[in-house]
């Protein structure tokens, strides 16, 4: 078991009016067996946390630390973070014309593992994952995310997570824009990945809906760039009935 440890994290983004601080001292520890839900109103810094952890160049960490198994994540380039075991399922996956899903996945797997996967087991595992995610086999030969529907893009993100087997996955609003059936498929995909190996999940969401399928061990409410309250699954239930109003009044 390893720990992803975020301490007093401050993150700014460049805006037209200059740098704006979005995360204002966020602290969080996640073990590789746990699922943490990060909830919060719009603009509270949820996606900023996801991008900052993955190392997006537009998000500047001004102070604080992030370590994974004791290693300094903030010193790593974007690809080094992936190799260290971090995965970000993106809210808006990017289209890569002419690069097939198969080729992309194999290239990524080879990069993350430092060696090419064994062809036979790899192909078998890939088609099994695709089947469980209700993805048509045709997807393997299609260009990455090109012409994919919103739901297909999200399934493709979960497929990558299953194949790359990270230690920690940050799911950035993976549930947004999904209908009930797609939400169930994607959630099953996350649960299956957790069953197969140690996987710490940071589930970022605005709604409690996905938490009915992926049960969190801990729920954190992010308000104005900080964790305003932490609790167990019951906190999600309370948010479901009360909304974020009481936090916004305090903020």
């Amino acid at each position: 078991m390893t720990t992803l440890s975020i301490k007093d994290l401050h993150v700014s983004v460049e805006t037209e009016t200059g740098a704006k601080e979005i995360l204002k001292g966020l602290t969080l520890d996640i073990n590789s067996t746990e699922t943490h839900a990060i909830m919060g109103p719009n603009g509270s810094g949820k996606s900023t946390l996801a991008y900052a952890l993955a190392g997006h160049p537009r998000y500047e960490v001004t102070s604080g630390s992030v370590t994974l198994g004791g290693e300094d994540v903030l010193e790593m380039t974007v690809d080094e973070r992936a190799k260290a075991g971090l995965f970000l399922a993106m809210q808006y996956p990017v289209e890569v014309p002419g690069v097939t899903v198969t080729n992309f996945l194999r290239t990524a797997k080879t990069a993350v593992d430092g060696e090419a996967p064994k062809l036979r087991t790899w192909t078998k595992e890939l088609s099994a994952s695709m089947k469980n995610l209700r993805m048509d086999p045709d997807f393997a030969s299609r260009s990455v995310n090109e012409g994919f529907s919103g739901g297909e893009k999200k399934r493709h993100e979960i497929l990558q997570m299953q194949m790359l087997k990270p230690q920690f996955a940050v799911l950035d609003e993976t549930d947004s824009g999904l209908d009930v059936d797609a939400l169930r498929v994607v959630s099953e995909g996350v649960n299956a990945a957790k069953e197969n190996s140690d996987l710490g999940v940071l589930l970022i969401t605005h709604y409690t809906r996905i938490l009915q399928y992926v049960r969190p061990d801990h729920v954190h409410v992010l308000v104005n760039g900080r964790v305003a309250e932490s609790g167990g699954p019951e906190l999600a239930d309370r948010l479901e009935s009360e909304g974020y109003d009481r936090f916004l009044v305090e903020a």
Partner: protein, 383 residues
């Protein structure tokens, strides 16, 4: 005909339809070029003065080839070449090239010949004198062949290339521009495509300082099929310009144009102008043209201009697509967040981008050259 304003100079210019453009072997029909003309406005004409001057040198490209028995080569007169019905030059450099070439190099493939392996002709430039060349390639009825012209070395080459594809023949002609960095190459490749014949022209332009190639098709009977493919990769300071013109002058012919280019580095420049003219007699034709550009770094510029003139509505189809996209930080971030290193990410995206056209080329010799050269281009990358 369209009356339009030349916005750069503010002087009204008449943009003729493509059928009105001058075609002639007589140099007097082409006035001096000032760079504001529709067909020259994208080209750095100031750096091409020698190509517009009616003067010759003895310089030639050094040719090496190992022709199969069926293929013959001889030097013939321009009149003899014209007897094959070749199309006329359509700009001043081409007219000068035809006049100054000192004879026409005629490669001939006889009727019914089936040549399996590509015929490779290597043309090597060895200096800075302007070289004028006129090549004629004829392929007899029902013959089948692939011919590859590979241009390398250092040259200032003004080329007029005439192709005649007789009825029922099938010809793939590839022109590879793998020039040294200082080279300049202006060329007009004209094909006359016979009844039920198939013609495929492939331009691959990776080297050279300035390359400007026109690939033109006219039909000599119904049922002809033309496919024009292009791939280019412009580096810092390179000007790579490709123009295609499909003259649909017969019924029931088809044409398909696909050009793809990548650009990187300061002042890397590409131009694609794709003209398709569907004349009133071109009933039942089907045409499609596509140009896509991928800009890898700041400071590069791609121009892409499709022109479709349709004079009959009684056709199967006519379409075009043109786009210029950027390899941006979102692509890079997405791929790198999956563990893929920056250089590998760029390679993946560029290869993916070119894949569509490389697959269509289908000549293993060219594919291996391309793979190697694209790697070299990417190694120069400076994002």
């Amino acid at each position: 005909m369209t009356q339009t304003l030349d916005t750069r100079s503010g002087v009204p210019a008449l943009l003729n339809g493509r059928q009105d453009r001058t075609r002639s072997f007589d140099l007097a029909d082409f006035p001096p070029v000032n760079g504001r003309e529709e067909e020259w406005r994208f080209t750095p004409v100031k750096r091409l003065a020698d190509f517009f001057e009616d003067s010759g040198s003895d310089a030639t490209l050094s040719i090496t080839t190992d022709l199969p028995e069926a293929v013959t080569v001889e030097t013939i007169t321009l009149d003899a070449a014209r007897a094959h019905g070749i199309l006329e030059p359509e700009d001043r450099p081409a007219a000068i090239a035809a006049a100054r070439a000192g004879g026409v190099t005629h490669y001939s493939i006889p009727p019914d010949a089936e040549i399996d392996d590509p015929v490779v002709i290597r043309a090597n430039g060895t200096g800075d004198d302007t070289v004028h060349g006129h090549v004629l390639l004829t392929i007899g009825a029902n013959a089948k062949a692939t011919v590859v012209f590979e241009h390398e070395g250092r040259a200032r080459y003004s080329e007029f290339f005439s192709v005649v594809v007789e009825d029922g023949a099938s010809l793939t002609l590839a022109s590879l521009q793998l020039w040294d960095d200082e080279s300049v190459h202006l060329g007009q490749h004209d094909a006359l495509v016979g009844k039920d014949a198939y013609y495929r022209h492939i331009s691959v332009t990776l080297g050279g300082d300035i390359v400007r190639l026109g690939s033109n098709v006219r039909y000599r009977g119904p049922g002809g099929e033309a496919e024009l493919l292009g791939l280019y990769f412009a580096d810092a300071g390179q000007h790579l310009e490709h123009r295609t013109f499909i003259d649909h002058n017969t019924p029931k012919a088809t044409s398909n144009v696909m050009y793809k280019g990548a650009l990187q580095g300061k002042d890397a420049r590409s131009v694609w102008v794709g003209d398709v003219l569907i004349r009133p007699e071109a009933e039942g034709i089907d045409t499609y043209e596509l140009n896509r550009n991928l800009i890898l770094t700041d400071g590069a510029r791609a121009d892409s201009v499709p022109n479709l003139e349709i004079e009959t509505g009684n056709i199967e189809g006519a379409g075009h697509a043109s786009s210029t996209g950027r390899f941006d930080e979102q692509h890079l971030f997405y791929l790198m967040s999956r563990g893929i290193a920056e250089e590998e990410a760029r390679r993946l995206v560029v290869r993916g981008f070119f894949n569509e056209v490389i697959q269509k080329i289908g000549i293993p010799e060219i594919e291996s050259v391309l793979n190697e050269k694209i790697e070299e281009e990417l190694a120069r990358s400076v994002l």
